[in-house]
């Protein structure tokens, strides 16, 4: 006989409470307030539909999701187990990808825009992710200039050998979904990608379903701790914390630059190597870069060694263990 109390307890740990669910029709997007600990599900209602995505700190729109940072930490195709990060100097984990049934997302390509459809296809007006995002964000007082690089869910991209990024067709099915756990209160804005004459969504626009859940205990337990660092700054640490309200850029006559650690000054350090050490050094010295500058060649070896020896995560990715994120 199963222990019904234990089964019920296990079920309750897995239980999510549905807070909102709706369909996003082709050509549209919608801003959703997502509180810390809630789960945003982006789901294929038909299949094969790319979903562009913007995200802001709900209490400070100047903090926004940064594809460059996210790409640096997690690569070109972030997926389950990765975070969506905000831009420097905040660099906070905004969302965590808890579940991804397709595992094909993109942070290489920018959002499509009206300019693209006019310049390449001759359209005066065409659905495009920038304008869809702008229209959805307008509900919260944001302007078209506030739309930022999009995280492209269900978008299949590759980097060719010549370095160019390319888009390929996708193969997602009805019900495929991505679940994102909010690490802070955010305004999350998914939109149905407007590209119907590209292979991004297999040459057709389809609806997607958006649902918001209160996370289950197990959902929250699955989110790794994120290290908290001094360098993750807040506006009260800015020398200029005031949001600029005029469009014209005018120099501040009282401005005095305060760059950190300046002036950068070099110290000369002498090192003597014996024959055996010199032979090793000669074997590894990058003469193709540094020529006869032995000091520069050794400095390269020194800090390359340091990276190999002590860098715990690639590309400066913050550790996802250790101190708990507030």
């Amino acid at each position: 006989m199963p222990d019904t109390a234990a089964v019920k307890k296990a079920q309750s740990r897995n239980e999510r409470r549905l807070l909102d669910t709706r369909i996003l029709e082709p050509g549209t997007g919608k801003a959703f307030e997502l509180r810390k600990g809630e789960v945003l599900r982006i789901e294929q209602a038909v299949g094969n539909q790319c979903v562009d995505f913007n995200c802001f700190n709900l209490h400070d729109y100047k903090e926004f999701m940064h594809c460059g940072r996210t790409r640096t930490v997690h690569g070109f195709n972030p997926t389950e187990g990765d975070f969506l990060w905000s831009a420097p100097p905040r660099e906070n984990a905004m969302l965590y990808i808890l579940k991804d049934t397709v595992r094909r997302n993109d942070v290489l390509f920018p959002r499509c825009s009206a300019f693209l459809y006019e310049s390449a296809y001759g359209f005066d007006v065409h659905t495009n992710c920038h304008d869809i995002q702008a229209e959805a964000q307008r509900e919260y007082g944001l302007t078209p200039d506030d739309v930022h690089d999009s995280f492209n869910f269900f978008m299949c991209t590759e980097v060719a050998r010549d370095g160019r990024a390319t888009i390929t067709r996708q193969n997602s099915n009805k019900g495929d979904h991505v679940d994102l756990v909010a690490m802070m209160d955010v305004l999350a804005i998914p939109n149905v990608c407007g590209a119907d004459i590209m292979r991004t969504s297999n040459f057709a626009l389809k609806p997607v379903r958006i649902s918001i859940f209160e996370a289950s205990e197990n959902d929250l337990a699955a989110v790794p701790n994120v290290a908290s660092m001094k360098s993750q700054r807040t506006p009260d640490q800015f020398r200029n914390a005031q949001i600029k309200a005029t469009r014209e850029l005018v120099a501040d006559p009282d401005y005095v630059p305060e760059f950190v650690n300046t002036p950068i000054e070099e110290e000369q350090i002498v090192l003597e190597l014996d024959e055996a050490e010199w032979a090793i050094f000669e074997e590894h010295a990058r003469r193709d870069i540094y020529g006869d500058d032995h000091g520069a060649a050794f400095r390269d070896i020194l800090f390359s060694w340091w990276e190999d020896r002590f860098l715990n995560a690639a590309s400066g990715a913050p550790s996802t263990s250790g101190k708990t994120h507030d």
Partner: protein, 56 residues
């Protein structure tokens, strides 16, 4: 930047204050007793690692 003196080869590293901070912090963490010792350790382990990679 380098010169040969008998069997000793002399080179001069130019390190800025931030690079020196990292070197000194690594020493303070117990990985070497001096800058010179750390530089030698770096060369040795760099060689071992590259050798190991070449073997792999």
């Amino acid at each position: 930047m380098g010169s040969e003196d008998g069997k000793r080869h002399r080179l001069v590293l130019s390190l800025n204050q931030q690079q020196i901070e990292l070197v000194d912090r690594t020493i303070a963490n117990g990985f070497a007793e001096s800058r010179e010792a750390l530089f030698r350790l770096a060369l040795k382990e760099y060689d071992e690692r590259r050798g190991a990679k070449a073997d792999a």
